[in-house]
Symmetry: C2
Subunit: 127 residues, 2 copies
């Protein structure tokens, strides 16, 4: 998976002194996981998870779905929409690139890790 | 991603009456996410997550790594080891197939969802 880097991106390596200051902070959360499905398989795949696990539907239409598990949310994405990805919540989200505000009020940027896995960096909702 | 089904697998669709009984139960947890890296990129990819997020190293060698985030664990898997997957904890794990006991004491089975995403179903540790 590869995504184009936005012009707003800059180096976001955390300095050693910052890491030490953060040692006592809470660990970061992963907000959601988005796994790939084909449009033809979306319905039966979402049904499979609803039937086999104790989870709740947060959103569902013909183009994507979003389920709540106890500790994390699981999205199902079809080709042409957002790519499969992991979404991390970081107080330093702005350091990863220009944040975009989404319809649900969240602010995030999509980048890729050194292995070309797509990751979304979300600002905490309270910031 | 495709995996061979084991002979111990059987239908595990949950009956409607069971779903109603489970309505008040806690939602299931996703124990960990395993994302793909090449062996050549493993070190720099793990370093990237450690430098950019507040997370802890649970395990790391030349063939895989395991990081703890606040709400979930993140594994990095290279080709030839476990495939990229999501690991769910389910009290009904046995219904998904023959569980295998791993070196760390966890018991699980690997299957695939209807979109051929590999998923691991883990028994709760206390069972």
């Amino acid at each position: 998976m590869t995504i184009k880097k936005t012009s707003g991106e800059k180096s976001h390596k955390i300095k050693e002194e910052d890491k030490e200051q953060r040692a006592d902070l809470a660990l970061d959360d992963i907000d959601h996981i988005a796994i790939p499905v084909t449009e033809a398989d979306l319905d039966k795949t979402v049904d499979y998870y609803l039937q086999n696990f104790n989870c709740q539907t947060l959103y569902r239409d013909e183009s994507w779905a979003f389920l709540r598990f106890n500790n994390i949310k699981l999205a199902f994405v079809v080709p042409g929409q957002h790519p499969p990805h992991l979404a991390f919540i970081s107080a330093r989200a702005e350091e990863f690139g220009q944040l975009k505000t989404h319809r649900d009020g969240t602010r995030s940027v999509y980048i890729s890790d050194p292995s070309e896995n797509t990751i979304e960096i979300m600002a905490p909702l309270e910031s």
